[in-house]
Amino acid sequence: MEDRIGVSKVVGGSHMQGGGASYVPITGLLERVRQDLPLGEMVHTDTFSLFEAMSAVELGNVKMDAAMSGSCKSVEELIQEGAAPVEGLTPAQTLLIMERLLVMEASWHNGAALAQTVFASLYMLRPDRLRDNSPLLHAYCEGVKATCIAVRWLVMHGAVAEEEDINCWVQGLPIPDMPVPLPDARCLPLLDQATQSAKGLAKGATAPEADVYKAIAAHLEFRRDLHGALLGLGLKSEGGVVGAVAHLTSAQARLQQVMGASPGLQQQQRSIADSQNGKDASGAASTQKEGQGCEAKQQQRQQQRQESAFDAPGFVENVNKYLLGPAPPRAAVVMSTEAAYAYLKSMLGHLQQATDVMHVRGYRALVQHIERFARLRAGVVARSAAHYLIAGKAWGPAMASATALRQATEAEGAAASGTPNNSSQPTPDNSKHRDQAASGDKDGSSSANPAQDVPPPPWVLDRPIMSEACALPEAPGAAGPEADLFLDQIVIASSNWAQSMLLNSCRQRRRLRRGLDDWANIYQHALNADMSEEFVAFTKRAQWAWTPPKDEVEAMNEFYPGPLSTWVECQTAASEALHLLLGFELDLYQPSEYAMVYWYCSVLLGVQRITSQVMHSYRCPAGGASKASMALPAKPGKKGNKGRAATPPSPLPDASTARRQAGLIMDAVRTELLSSMCLGLVRLQLALKVAGIVPDPILTFNSQRERFDQRFAAFHTPPLVRPEPMGYGE
């Protein structure tokens, strides 16, 4: 092929200049080359194989190139044409824009791109235009931007968000990309001031304008509370969480007020009333092919919703299409107003539940908290907050210390107001909330060195909580190097498990299965620790009720399960059972498979029951307390027992040991119950099969054995040895 210099001679086209690059049309050249190639021959090099080429995008292809979705003017052109007026915006229009931004923000949380939602607003792209003429909207826009930054920070540091959950792409938008900016409190004084103005305007106006100003004030207060809550959560301290709880409670109340005055919801109610009165032509139902008719109506409703989402002043659907890049366009689905409010309400509730972690003490309570939260099926923002709060050092950057955040906030505030740092005063009405959120650390808030790490809260998944889980001493070396290594490994494995639990449910199930490799590895460490001399000596000193095996052969014998390997087996069985049960929620099983799935679940729950009972029998005192502290008081001496003096009553077990023992008994009882339920469901399924209601499928290419192997293959994969995998024959 001719080199580039000769191309223009071959094609006879002229050069085009643009953006510093020279463009040469080569269509003619490609035509000539094509004529020389026989059918089936392709041009390729080592770096352009067909496999790599599959990720190529055809520029200009509407299905593949997001920037080809229709023409759009630049932001400046649109503003010049009056698409986003700043003078003469009525209060009703201001309220509508605020609400629409809230809906867009909810849509972003649920998978749509920021560029196609929040920043489809010209006011968000150029908020400074609003400063003089529309200060209320200006404050709100700054608040939305700050909250988006805070949410993005939380999501990226929460480590449970995947690309299908939320789109954190901000290239070309007025949000710094990397490094991920720390959330700050700069917008709070602005929001406070705007709230006071709105309330003042409400007092001076008459209905209905007064109601509109009250609704605007409610929006501003909601924004302030939401941002305050995110700042509090970001501190990852007891004080920060307490502050966040206060903000969340207030935000929930504000949201109710906002919903009560929502123009979007009122419009929706009017539409429903119109359609019920027969004025809506699209409400006619098709009697034939109802399934297709319903789907078409849903698509039509979605299309209408998409169009109305951009009806408010300043919103232009494709204003940022050039930022989407040469990639296949993902559908940007804007939620309905009703759905957005429902999402925000549930998000606030889920964030509240995430803050319940501050009452957690001990591994078992933490596991229950995580399992309970996971069952909520919360959105990515709440899940990120929940994981961020419990994640230990292994999961991301050092915590944002209260001192660093306060100093950064005060410095920014001073720079903005032009006053020295030490004279900046908090707004009187909200000083309590802000101080709680910004400096709520009980420990370390007075540190002069902002880089100094604040000790983690007691609920964080780290070495202290894991040592309590296994009744091991926290101090390194006390139970030997193998036990120390085991403790390090279970911190990692449990952290991975906690992260798995807070992913979206599809990923959660897959990650639980992949986590079995971790548990298999940990099991080997546990066996080594159980057999190590130092650990055995430790258990004797601490008077555990466990007889160590004489050698490795005995150690592998199920009648001599070591305490640490038993604990690992219990955790592994729990992960496997949860992995199977999640399949029901994700609708992965056909009715003909229910029996074998429930059967395997009953086996795994049985393993959990037995291992809990074994661990209970070992009576491992927390922190190495003595056996004497575990014994129940002796019965008084009977008549005729001459010469045998009554033994004095032994001291009661310490609180943490008693809690651990009680927890093990409860786990044994619970898993026995669940195992029985599963067996009952197995019998039910078999009865339905016999009755012909749930017949076996007709299999063309394989048999029930292969289907069994497929479902439970992960439990048979080496090096996983415990729980013992069950075969098809069993």
Binding site: L39, G40, M42, L50, F51, A53, M54, A56, V57, E58, N61, K63, M64, G111, E162, E164, D165, P328, P329, R330, A331, V333, N504, S505, C506, R507, R509, R510, L586, D587, L588, Y589, Q590, E593, P697, I698, L699, T700, F701, N702, S703, R705, E706, R707, D709, Q710, R711
Partner: protein
């Protein structure tokens, strides 16, 4: 090799013929069928990737001269372990649906994969695509996993898998 026409001629199972992909001259038919029916965008490189390396795993269905269905597959070693077949695309013209054309195309492709020592077959399907799910489940596929918002239109997908019984040669072969 033209595009499917609008004629409403009665289509029945007996009038459907099947053949393997024979070369680049069939590529326009394949692309036209897939582009018309599937929402996901595919570049020509994607088509060529499958059809150039695994032409024997692509089958076309015709009603007379009119192309009414196509299945495109591949077969290779998955993560250095099992030989895995993959059904990349399956399309049946709307007029011919519900007549077993899709099932027959998939059956032929699986048979060809078995001849290629395939151990398992996988594919993705939209969770809302009841027709496809029924088709594959009828052939013994199970829903192995769910992929959240897998498609560009935001819909979830199921990964369906069919584990094939090992042949005598595969059973006695030493493991890696």
């Amino acid at each position: 090799m033209g595009a499917p026409s609008d004629d409403r001629q009665q289509v029945n199972q007996a009038s459907i013929s099947y053949r393997q992909y024979s070369g680049e001259q069939d590529l326009p038919i394949v692309m036209h069928l897939v582009d018309n029916e599937l929402s996901e965008p595919y570049s020509i490189f994607t088509y060529r990737y499958f059809l150039h390396y695994w032409p024997k795993l692509c089958f076309l269905a015709f009603s007379g001269d009119k192309p009414v269905g196509v299945v495109i597959c591949k077969l290779d070693r998955h993560r250095e372990q099992a030989m895995r077949g993959y059904v990349a695309m399956l399309v049946v013209d709307k007029l011919c649906r519900g007549k077993g054309v899709g099932s027959e195309l998939v059956r032929k492709s699986i048979q060809a994969m078995i001849e290629g020592k395939c151990e398992e077959v996988a594919l993705e399907a939209e969770v809302t695509n009841q027709g496809a799910l029924k088709l594959y489940q009828g052939l013994g596929f199970i829903r192995d996993k769910r992929l959240h918002r897998y498609y560009l239109n935001g819909v979830d997908a199921y990964r369906l898998k069919l584990l094939l019984p090992l042949s005598e040669g595969q059973e006695s072969a030493p493991t890696a």
